[in-house]
Symmetry: C2
Subunit: 342 residues, 2 copies
């Protein structure tokens, strides 16, 4: 593994290279949508602002990069993997659009969420269209294994969202409280599954041996869990100017995340913290809650979890028979991306 500075440079260059490959393919796919849906799809993908003006935003394209790098690392050309890269990015966009409706989140990536900008019905429809498009793009490849992989991930993503939503009505403490283990099982499905699918997709489309695809899937899933842990930290302590979401957003919404669950699972229950996380706390109370969570070790535990998961992901990648440059890029991207916000 190169040193950190080198790794960061490799990761940036690799992501830029993958982005340049994926963008035109994404554009071509979106242009096949019904005209009534294109503007909203563009907004959801960060290509257009709510006034309809072109924008250069959107996600960092981690998932499609994983697909392309996975294919390259399995010895296949990018072309074979491009439809898979487009499909996972579209499924990711679909999941964010519907997630924001379910969670009532009004902000996403420094902008209003899609339902806030265009209304709930149109946002439901746009999410459906992004998903349908993903299946159509991948379905055209006539690679049943790739479609099966995506369908499985999709079922996991939705099941994970359902589990996450079900956590909301459970108490912070007592026998019915959500455990860190339950949270973990939820995150494997909600976040891990699609990253695992992305990492394996290239190998599957390239016709690589099933063992290689399975190994990449497991590494991708671990990376997803590292990601989720970083996200949970940012959801409480992240700078809104960086995250694009309101300050303390997860606490305000009573979201069960690892930092809080870990803090409350400690030997002495912090009754004051539970009190602060109930009802509609003011900013001052949220600040105090964040302080108490950190003091109880919630932040450190979650950051350690992110490091552990990243290590596990990179360990798995190193153990696989992957080809040179792409394997190094995969490792660099994995390491680098966890340091930053999605």
């Amino acid at each position: 593994m190169p040193n950190t500075r080198q790794a960061t440079e490799i990761a940036f260059e690799s992501m830029a290279r993958c982005g340049a490959l994926v963008r035109p393919a994404m554009r071509a796919a979106v242009d096949t949508l019904d005209p009534a849906l294109v503007e909203m799809a563009e907004f959801a993908l960060g290509w257009r602002d709510a006034c309809g003006a072109p924008a250069r935003g959107g996600g960092k394209g981690l998932r499609p990069a994983l697909v392309l790098l996975g294919a390259e690392a399995a010895g296949a050309p990018d072309e074979a993997a491009l439809p898979g890269a487009v499909a996972v990015e579209l499924v990711h966009a679909f999941s964010l659009v519907h997630d924001d409706i379910m969670d009532g989140d009004e902000r996403r990536r420094h902008r209003p969420s899609l339902w806030k900008a265009y209304g709930t019905g149109p946002a439901v429809m746009t999410g459906d269209a992004l998903l349908a498009l993903a299946l159509d793009v991948l379905g055209r490849e006539r690679c049943a294994a790739a479609v099966g992989l995506l369908a499985e991930a999709l079922l996991d993503v939705v099941g994970g969202q359902a589990a996450d939503a079900a956590f909301e009505s459970r108490p912070w403490t007592g026998p019915d409280a959500v455990t860190v283990e339950e949270y973990h099982a939820m995150a494997v499905r909600k976040t891990g599954a699609l990253l695992g699918c992305s990492a394996a997709m290239g190998a599957v489309l390239a016709g690589a041996p099933p063992g290689l695809a399975a190994g990449l899937a497991r590494a991708g899933c671990e990376l997803g869990l590292a990601f989720q842990a970083v996200d949970d930290v940012l959801g409480i302590w992240g700078d809104p100017a960086v995250t694009g979401k309101p300050v303390f957003s997860d606490l305000r919404r009573h979201k069960k995340t690892v930092p809080v669950l870990a803090a409350l699972a400690g030997p002495r229950c912090d009754d004051r913290l539970v009190e602060l996380l109930t009802g509609a706390p003011a900013d001052e109370e949220l600040r105090e809650a964040a302080f108490r969570i950190e003091r109880a070790g919630g932040r450190a535990i979650t950051e350690e979890m992110a490091r552990d998961r990243l290590e596990s992901a990179t360990g798995r990648l190193r153990a696989l028979p992957l080809s040179g440059r792409a394997a190094a890029e995969l490792l660099a991207v994995a390491a680098c991306v966890v340091d930053r916000h999605r």
Copy 2:
């Protein structure tokens, strides 16, 4: 073609036989969902009421019956087609759940719609889960052609919904008015595509020649258009006790449907009708609007359209090299189902 009475009997027996095959497979599929989603999925499928009590309701199962009969008519056993039957029924349920959210419809099949009973977020999630399950069930078959067929239909369904929604903001008369031809193009996608996919699915899963599958798809699409025309008539003149929706529901929502578009496309524009269909009309005004639409020929034109489409569907089916009993059942089901409400 047997006489009408015989055809009705054949259709009922055939639908019952198909239903008995599909129900356990549907049950098994739904049971693999996340526990937090099962109850809502059961409600969406009509297996459970809003209090959680078991119910025996739901759709008539036309789409899965088409899949099984299509497979049989192509000379394949039911087992080969069962995953396809489950998948199309799940996609149909998904589309109804999300459609009701987009349209703000509060009633479906004599009951509250899912979003009205459980909330918008949970209904979005349940729709997503039904769709993900459909893909998973079909994806497990490792039949890329079948998944491609479903993905294409799905894209059409969503595109058709988008076109339908876009019609709402257009005027009833003048150069920007929706034409019957535009409506037709929308209905081909919104309703025709999934029925076409259902009719072809069995043949595709059975590995029948592509020409046969394509012929079945076209017949199914025509059947869907007949269906949509019947639905449009019921949306205005249907008995709420039968349709399960409020009286004059389509008129109340200013929905652009064939009876109204045809009535307004006549030589003399009925200004009073346009006036009645604007704003929030009272029941008395809706009654007058329905009367005026019927007097202008809107009902007769739509009923004729349904008959024409049905004839076209049955003509196409008769022209295909289908095997005996199943072909007769397909024709009987097509003829009978258009006479009744979904």
